[in-house]
Amino acid sequence: MQEITENKEFKPLIVAFCCNWCSYAGADLAGSSRLSYPANVKIIRVPCSCRVNPIFILKAFQRGADGVILCGCHPGDCHYSEGNYRTRRRMSLLFSMLNYLGIEKERTRVEWVSAAEGAKFSAVMNDFVKTITALGENKKLEDLRCKSKN
């Protein structure tokens, strides 16, 4: 958190995809426990982490997101019994590919957060924001056309 306040110029934009059954509920629990995390984390609710298409992640980067994090139920706990196992393979391969093309591996992350892990959700988001702040702006995957000229 300290670094974030020190670097006032750069507030990274974080897009977090959260599955409805575990991680979104975990985020709610973080909220009802008043466990703060930076406001630049914005959550998109999806039914299951396996609903997240690689296209969504690339699109978020295109639109200027500096980090994308995907949260789902712990493996074995998926509401749909196996969705997150598929997420795990898909995202492993996608993130590995992004890194292969030279994208910093810290920019993408998958975390398993249960509905009971409000504290974890908040900790993960704080840590992710810290990591991305240290990493700086996403320049390798943004779409310059989408940037408004100053």
Partner: protein, 343 residues
């Protein structure tokens, strides 16, 4: 006529680029394309065929047309056109130069394409004669002399020297600026080389293609059964159209920027694509055969019909080299040749 040692060309590029943005063939990751000169770039002026043609200089693959912003019921239109500063395109081959004429006949007639026009007017074109034409070249078929391209300035690479000849006022002006790097010479060596080039061209395999059937038998050709066979391997990709110096079709699309501004831009389209000509009313060309036929009928029949017999193919041979399945305009012309093989 001037000349400069090939080993001194870097000085020439640098000198030109001090006054103008300079576009010329640059090698990047193993392939040569037109690009903006910079000291770190690897210039490859001797490359006969860049992958993409220099038409990008006037008609870029993607180009912003207009921006607009919507606020409630108000629409604010933002003109994004800039005043084009003069720039230099160097190394243009005879066929590609001829292709500018083909594009002019599309973009510079009413309604005038100001985006194209501004760039065209701002450009100083330095052509380069083809001292080593290849098997895939057939510009001669379209009456192009690869040994003597025009343009504002014509250059010839002969032996260890590049010969430089200004043809126009613009050319003279540029020459004045860089004259210090040249030594003056007569055109004897150039004339000899031109003769040699013409001989080489005459020995190429595809320089005697017969185009008369496309003038005389337009309907027969359109209805010919041969198109089916000719196009059956076509994948419907756009490689041939995107490397073509004369293809001028584009699509207009929009992109919403992060601040809500909508950017309307055009980008190259290809008549080989299945959604080309698709409208709300349907798709008039439903098969790849129809699309394939359209492309060549346009190059060899429709365009000349509307443009005093000027073909919209310049024989650069790029499509011959780039088609994944080795289909090309040469095969089409030969198929309809009277003495051609019956298919």
């Amino acid at each position: 006529m001037y000349k400069i040692k090939l080993s001194d060309l870097d000085k020439l590029y640098k000198a030109i680029s001090e006054d103008y943005p300079l576009y010329l063939p640059i090698k990047k990751a193993g392939e040569v394309n037109y690009g903006l000169y910079g000291e770190d770039e690897e210039v490859s002026l001797t490359t006969l065929k860049t992958v993409k043609s220099p038409k990008d200089a006037f008609f870029p693959q993607s180009e912003d047309l207009v921006n607009f912003k919507v606020d409630g019921n108000k629409i604010e239109v933002i003109d994004v056109r800039k005043e084009e500063q003069p720039f230099v395109v160097m190394g243009v081959r005879a066929c590609d130069f001829k292709a500018f004429d083909v594009l002019d006949r599309v973009f510079l007639v009413d309604p005038l394409d100001t985006f194209y026009q501004n760039k065209r007017n701002a450009a100083i074109v330095v052509t380069n004669a083809c001292t080593e034409p290849e098997d895939s070249c057939f510009c001669k078929v379209f009456g192009i002399d690869a040994s003597d391209p025009s343009g504002d300035i014509t250059t010839f690479i002969i032996g260890e020297n590049l010969f430089w000849r200004a043809n126009t006022e613009k050319g003279n002006a540029l020459t004045e600026k860089v004259k210090g790097l040249f030594t003056e010479t007569d055109d004897k060596i150039v004339a000899e080389e031109q003769k040699a080039i013409r001989e080489k061209i005459n020995s190429l395999p595809n320089v005697n293609l017969d185009l008369t059937p496309f003038k005389d038998e337009m309907l027969d050709i359109f209805n010919s059964e041969k198109w089916g066979k000719l196009s059956e391997a076509c994948l419907g990709c756009g490689a041939c159209t995107f490397v073509c110096p004369t293809c001028q079709c584009f699509d207009i699309r929009e992109l919403t920027k992060n601040d809500g501004t909508v950017s309307r831009f055009r980008c190259w389209d290809s008549c080989m694509y299945s959604d080309f000509t698709k409208t709300a009313g349907g798709q008039p060309r439903t098969t790849q055969m129809q699309r394939y036929r359209q492309r060549f009928m346009h190059k060899l029949v429709y365009y000349p019909e509307n443009n005093e017999g000027v073909y919209s193919c310049v024989g650069c041979g790029r499509c011959v080299k780039s088609c994944p399945m080795h289909l090309n305009i040469v095969k089409v012309i030969k198929a309809f040749d009277k003495g051609g093989k019956d298919e």
